[in-house]
Amino acid sequence: MCASQRSHQLERTECHPVEHMDHRAANHPLTLTLSPEDEGEGTGFGRWLIVISLLFAVLAPPPVRAVDPAVLQAERERVEVVQRVAASVVAIFSNSGDGGGSGVLISSDGYALSNFHVTSSAGEFMKCGLNDGKLYDAVIVGIDPTGDVALIKLLGRDDFPAATLGDSDQVRVGEWVYAMGNPFLLATDFQPTLTAGIVSGVHRYQYPAGTILEYADCIQTDASINPGNSGGPLFNARGELVGINGRGSFEKRGRVFVGAGYAISINQIKHFLGALRSGRIVDHATLGALVRTGYDRAVIVDRVLEESSAYRRGLREGDVVVSFAGRPIGSVNQFKNVLGIYPDGWKVPLVYRREGKRNEIVVELRPLHRASELLEKPKPPQRPEPRPRPKPDAPEKPKNPDELPADLAPQKPERPEQWKHLYEERAGFANYHFNRMEQARVLKGLAEFGDYADAKGRWRFTGETADAKPFVFTLSDKGLGLTLGKNGYYFQPPDVDPLDEPAGTGGLLSALDQLKRLLTDGPEAFSACYYVGSEPLDGRGPLVDVLFTQQGTVQTQWFFDRQSGRMLGFDTALAGDMDPAEVRIQELDDFSGRRFLGRWTARSGDKEFATFHTTAIEMLTQ
């Protein structure tokens, strides 16, 4: 029997194809006609035929009501889409066997998305079931506790069936969507449960409810999303992944679905993917300003932190926010929706109005939480995913033979022998192993510069600026200096805190010194070095990998083009409340066996200091 179209909890039953519908015309007894030969043979035979026919007519089942072919076609398409995407749905189990949730594979080498609150109760390694009936080991990769997203990696194959990422901004209210996963942990055979519904709302904001979890810009659906569905995929009618299910509105009936479920939009997750892949604990962002709704529904800046990039770019109390990251802002919720989908450190455009005049700025988003709030292994919300509850009318569910009964579960998390090298513990990271790998990948971009191992002595490079001023940079342990044109003389003495020198550059001399250190001594020479994630360069440009280094109080972000791997520039910040010195490389040039900054720009805030064209370099051995 086909599952009813109207049913909301569709199990994976077979739907009979169309063929059975057409039997009625061919085999209906009353369509028998008596041929002339029959008549001639003898009326006795004919009469018997009529009696038998009438008997059949009386006893035959009533004709099947015709189903609109369009409906059957839609059903066929639906079944085909679901059968295709079901392979990418993951059933996630904690090591102790109780509790779990869902996930979805997004790449053939095994990366899969889920909710943070699912994986956090599972531990570093977990077991995952796919609809091929097999259980796979998986390791935690990166987590976003605020956004409730986690990235894990299934192990043992390089050809996992992966879902195609869709565009959640294209989703419209009224579209059909499918949620797949393991609600109530029903899928003991790992065949995911499918529920279907429409999109009930888009760009919905759900307040943090007692935890740090904030669901911004999510997709609201009336497809059933129950405990166990968390972390699983929301597909559109074409089978593209548009969301990760994770939350619902619950009220008087307890924690079961009552018509309103929420999925994290895939476009939000795309912003965080680079960071998640690198094993980090990612934080969300704040503008460094508070906004409120004014009388005419305008969103007005209430307060701006003076240390924030927004303040330095000119945003002040009373300014009206017109658009943020390209989206028009008509309410505080919409503002929070935009803010909620970006990792900290991203640069986004903001348009504000003051006294009738429009101003456009690019602001750097600050971390939302204090380091301590996120760095201590973040705890999941109070109520973890449910254990399978035996229902009074249902038979006892057969236990998965791989599950350990709860009381025998080992206290120490299990690390499978063959995979334990894939997990490396380090404070501040979900799994440092992956960050190490990303660092190695990105640092290959330095190979282009050549071998600087014996260039640890004094550096001197000369040339001319774009407005024809000759310049000489000197970087040595006696200090950092720049002579520019006729009268420009700038100096950073050694053994003194780094200065904004030349003034207004954000500390260009110190920035160049960071480059020298990176090229000659490598990342080990810094007190901290890690891969951050990927973002559009300066908020609008090409996607770049971001590497972070720290030396003393000086923090530098290095930008490598994701396509080519080449270094496009770097930002060095002397302090958190100062605009960093920004160096952007137009091209590297060859200088006797090495490559170095050929044509490059130095700027800070929104002011350009100079564009340099290096013509000669001298790098001493010591």
């Binding site: 059909w176 009930s200 709302g201 919905r204 309103a260």
Partner: protein
């Protein structure tokens, strides 16, 4: 039959199949498109209502829908309308202070009015489509107050699962409306949904989403909708100012058609209402009042109000609030182990304007 087929399709059966396929494809994509478009058309007619509540588990938000371009809004009669101000937020985020034009508690119906023009609305003059069990429907409301400002309200899908008469209760006593309703399989029984609109898949109004009620036979929460045919006459009556409470009062004042009584109007002071279901004990009786004259005393427990069970203080007050002047208020109280029935005359209450 043959003569009706066009020559070309008779000669080229492939063409006929092709046309059918083309029409089918158009049909499929057209119906998929039309739900999205229907919603874009209908959602702006739904309004978000905010009013009294927010304490003791009573939410302060609900839904309503526009029935005229100048701002008449149909919604449910509920505690949200109890307070001083009722705010209405339109689809574009504009906020209005709404007046309560009138209410008909028998239909759990209230009509609000905001001062606006050219608003998207449902045309009640349109005959409602004929529907039955299985008709696919859309439910529009601000359930769980998910939508704020200019965000569109929530849309759920479902079918009409049954057509029946309402037998429901809120807590333990009967709901006032016991007429025909649609039962739907969309979960409309949630806070904030009452007063929203049920439509067909192509946007024709079918009815108003009901309140959070339980089925008294099965003790399950009901997703019910009051058909628009039932509401049309009381709606029009209130709009036209024809609404008069039963029995009619001599006050011509039709601005607020409801007079709301409190126990003190009858001389009853009840014990403080501090728990979920505070029993209706009389704390004391005001001297010279109707209650004193009827012989009621402290520690009497009120059991029935007008033949309806009054299991809690809150329910008793709600019942009183809906009363109109005219026929006496019948109370059945328990004193020790006796049941005593009294009739209290209902005093004429000053209208809100005075």
């Amino acid at each position: 039959m043959r003569s009706k087929e066009s020559r070309s399709t008779r000669r080229f059966p492939r063409l006929r199949i092709g046309l059918v396929c083309a029409l089918l494809l158009l049909g499929t994509s057209a119906s998929a498109q039309s739900t999205v478009e229907t919603i874009e058309d209908v959602a702006p007619r739904i309004v978000k209502i905010f009013g009294a509540g927010g304490r003791k588990g009573l939410h302060a938000y609900g839904s309503g829908f526009l029935v005229s371009p100048e701002g008449h809004i149909a919604t449910v009669w509920s505690h949200i309308l109890d307070g001083e101000t009722v705010s209405v937020i339109l689809h574009d985020g504009r906020r209005f202070d709404a007046r309560i034009l009138g209410a008909d508690p028998q239909f759990d119906l209230a009509v609000l009015k905001i001062d606006a023009e050219n608003l998207p609305h449902f045309d009640l003059q349109q005959p409602p489509p004929s529907v039955g069990v299985g008709t696919r429907v859309l439910a529009f409301s601000n359930v769980f107050k998910v939508a704020t400002g200019d965000e569109p309200v929530t849309v759920m899908h479902g079918v009409i699962a049954a057509q029946t008469n309402l037998s429901a209760r809120r807590g333990v006593f009967e709901a006032p409306y016991t007429g025909p309703v649609y039962i739907v399989d969309a979960v409309t029984n949630n806070s904030g949904a009452a007063g929203g609109a049920l439509t067909t898949r192509d946007g024709k109004l079918l009815g108003m989403l009901g309140k959070e009620l339980r089925n008294s036979a099965t003790d399950t929460w009901l997703n019910y909708v009051v058909p628009i045919q039932q509401l049309r006459t009381p709606l029009e009556d209130i709009r036209e100012g024809r609404y008069t409470p039963r029995p009619s009062t001599d006050d011509a004042d039709a601005t607020i058609a409801m007079r709301r009584y409190v126990p003190e109007d009858f001389g009853l002071v009840l014990i403080p209402d501090v728990v979920q279901r505070t029993p209706v004990y009389i704390d004391r009786v005001l001297p010279g009042s109707a209650a004193e004259k009827a012989g009621l005393r402290s520690d009497d427990l009120v059991l029935f109000v007008d033949d309806q069970l009054a299991p809690s203080s809150r329910v008793f007050r709600e019942e009183l609030a809906k009363r109109e002047a005219g026929r006496p208020l019948k109370l059945v109280v328990r004193r020790d182990d006796r049941l005593i029935t009294v009739d209290l005359p209902v005093p004429r209450k000053a209208s809100e304007n005075e």
